[in-house]
């Protein structure tokens, strides 16, 4: 087999641009646009008009026994419908700032050659999600928001507080030294929530032809989702755990993979 040419990682570049633009929009006045957004990723107002709310945060508040205000509820509905239609974990790969941290840890891991990997079941995140949901109801508060690193990081960046930094450091070191893709792939209940919400999302990675896909599987942060394609059992990734990050296509542009909106499932392409 001839050596594959390393191609320019277009998907990664696009993803990082969106991630950093969102993070910057929350923190700074953007040149030419001014203040685009106020609030944080729990709930925010875009362009002074559009209210968006994280549906998982809203769910916790509802379970804590409070009828939310209309603005927050409608905002949660808008976000939920969008992610349900496209694919929930798009949030994880394209928006969530913690992904920057964990991807950095993973990159360092490979550069430093860290071998240690404590295997954690990928199902644990659903357990954490269930516990967060139950604890919100039992404790009449937003249980996950006490430790949620996403808003924690945003508060630290936007308001210059730092007492929660140790949590982010622990998270980073955990991913770096102990468990490959430990946080985002195995533990985070926000990702688990979006995986369930976006289970039937129509923006899908699928087989667009034939190709050598081992590099794609190695690059994928959730490689189990590619199994049905690699084995030829399915024509597109159906799992909600797919982050639509495009790493599979960056890894080998000739792998015969493409991402597009699939309204109806097409007959599968038989394996070579």
């Amino acid at each position: 087999m001839k050596a594959m040419r390393r191609r320019f990682p277009y998907w990664l570049l696009a993803r990082r641009s969106v991630q950093l633009a969102v993070l910057a929009a929350f923190m700074y006045e953007l040149p030419g646009l001014g203040r685009v957004v106020t609030g944080n990723l729990a709930s925010s107002t875009w362009f002074g008009q559009l209210q968006l709310t994280d549906p998982f945060v809203a769910l916790q508040a509802l379970l804590a026994g409070q009828a939310l205000g209309a603005a927050a509820l409608i905002g949660a509905l808008v976000v939920a419908v969008a992610y349900a239609a496209l694919g929930g974990r798009i949030y994880c790969a394209w928006i969530c700032p913690i992904n920057l941290l964990t991807d950095l840890a993973h990159w360092l891991r490979t550069r430093l050659g860290v071998r240690r990997h404590v295997p954690v079941s990928r199902h644990v995140r659903y357990g954490v999600l269930a516990a967060a949901v139950c604890a919100s109801a039992a404790g009449s508060t937003l249980a996950w928001e006490i430790v949620n690193p996403i808003t924690l990081l945003q508060r630290e960046l936007m308001f210059g507080v730092s007492s929660g930094s140790w949590l982010l450091v622990v998270l980073f070191l955990f991913d770096l030294l102990y468990s490959r893709r430990g946080w985002c792939g195995h533990l985070c209940p926000v990702g688990a929530f979006y995986a369930l919400l976006g289970r039937f999302g129509r923006l899908q990675v699928g087989a667009s032809g034939m190709g050598e896909r081992s590099a794609s599987v190695r690059a994928c942060p959730e490689p189990q989702v590619l199994a049905p394609i690699v084995s030829g059992q399915a024509e597109a990734v159906r799992s909600g755990e797919c982050m639509r990050c495009g790493a599979c296509m960056d890894a080998n542009p000739s792998a015969g993979l493409g991402m597009r909106v699939r309204i109806v499932a097409r007959p599968r392409i038989p394996p070579a």
Binding site: T38, G39, N40, A42, S43, S44, T45, Q51, T53, D54, V57, A58, A61, A64, G65, Q66, A67, L68, G69, A71, A72, G75, P119, V120, S121, R122, H123, G127, V128, A130, A131, A132, C134, A135, A138, G139, S140, T141, L142, A143, E145, I146, T151, R155, M158, F159, V161, S162, S163, G164, L167, R180, H186, P223, Q224, A227
Partner: protein
Amino acid sequence: MVPPPTDPVPAPGVSPRRQAFRRVARALGGVMIATLAARGLLGARPARAAHMLRPPGALPDADFDARCIRCGLCVQGCPFDILKLADWDDPAPIGTPFFVARQDPCRMCADLPCVRACPSGALDPLLVDVREADMGVAVLVGHESCLNYKGLSCGVCVRVCPVRGEAIALREIVRNGAVIRVPTVNTDQCTGCGSCEKHCVLSHAAIRVLPRALGIGRSGANAAGRGGVR
């Protein structure tokens, strides 16, 4: 790389149905234990400290804690930058907004931008008149050090009050044959904005905003009775 199976190798002869049953039971058990642990830790979080004042229109503590979605829109809505979001080391639920009167009091904007920015209703949208706000109540806690009490003429706390003459006034009382003019709070009118606390000239404010439950008494008989020590 698919993670290794988490199940122990089943004993020969264990039916797949029983295996599945065990898996579900184990998962439910794990979730239950995690929930109990989280519930216990939630109960151990400190309650909001008395000096951490909520923005105008904030619901009672328990409701606020369950409804506020920790988004910080009120913080950014405040034109005077007095609000902050509680962090790990602040004695209030993490991510909820507060201000400290002695550092920076609420300016009582007539149009209530913080309340209008709140999407969740944790700051009650029905509050339209800022004078109806109840962030706490000012209490003269330092009689011994208050200059007016000492017979001097200070009255800063009265002069800086946004609800001047109604929420706080100098009341003349006669003490040891001399007239002193004592800062006296009308708790019905006081919104707890903290201007008096901020501007008290002493090194430690003699007048402070306290949560209403801590700050005022109520007439009626003591439920503990007057039986004395039994």
